[in-house]
Symmetry: C2
Subunit: 170 residues, 2 copies
């Protein structure tokens, strides 16, 4: 199945000059959504995974389905201030300024393997911060998994210490 | 399975005097997560569902898994300004002021059935706005489904025109 058919280009979103890759046509098509989720899950079928970590908020959509298909738990990583229990926080650079993400302190078990999922690999800053959160709690990053990778932004450079997989590469 | 065992009370979150019901222990437990998702999906197994609508962002986690289990597409409803394509917007009252949610204009097909999913039924304002969005695009609301219902907040009053189901009721 050619998944690129279900990705829509939106010019000038979220700001002028950026062409946004919209995955909602893929999500709303039952066949394409199931195909994508099963293709991702199939890659890790033989790995021992303690949990799938999804990054807010589009990473929640694919991450939770992959968790369910693999029989693993789902762990949300959220923007600062959204998780209610004790958290660890990591900051990462944006074009201007910084942003922060958090994980619950009790979400990760020492020495166990975690699969990290987000919808899009752009510059890789968010995912690199997420890897740091899992590792500072003693977890192992099995792999970083994306639906879409914008390879010209060289996000893999920031993730070179991790196995990185993408379903669709531009 | 007693799902209440996997819900954690967090006092004074997001502000003093509120006891927050934290579903992350349920999500991170593979057995409990799968049990909850299958129990929800089982209710609609014999209904014709064109799509599952999930409300940002905890509604994405359960909603997308239920969509996958039912072989339906997933449609995200997001906070204003987050969806990239043409949208319809609905506002709803909060304790102080208002908030707004959006849906893509092409996400709903006229005359088809949609299942609306969120994690928590409190006062019902967000879900009522979401029902309005689906209906203004010509879709039918098959049911509103929640993981947790805080029945003392009487959210069902705002949803009395719709079938409303909750997995866990306090």
């Amino acid at each position: 199945m050619d998944l690129k058919k279900y990705i829509r280009d939106i010019p000038d979103f979220p700001k002028k000059g950026i062409v946004f890759k919209d995955i909602t046509p893929l999500l709303s098509n039952p066949g394409a959504f199931e195909f994508a989720a099963k293709k991702i899950a199939g890659k890790y079928r033989n790995s021992k995974i303690a949990g799938v970590v999804g990054i807010e908020s589009r990473g929640f959509i694919i991450g939770s389905v992959v968790a369910c298909l693999l029989g693993a738990g789902f762990i949300p990583v959220r923007k600062k201030g959204k998780l209610p229990y004790k958290t660890r926080c990591a900051s990462y650079g944006l074009e201007y300024g910084t942003d922060s993400i958090e994980i619950h302190e009790d979400a990760v078990k020492k020495g166990k393997n975690y699969l990290l999922v987000d919808d899009l690999l752009a510059t890789g800053g968010t995912m690199a911060a997420c890897c740091g959160l899992v590792e500072c709690l003693g977890g192992k990053v099995l792999a970083c998994q994306f639906v879409i990778e914008l390879s010209f932004l060289k996000g893999r450079d920031k993730l070179k210490n991790y196995k990185t997989n993408s379903l669709i590469i531009y």
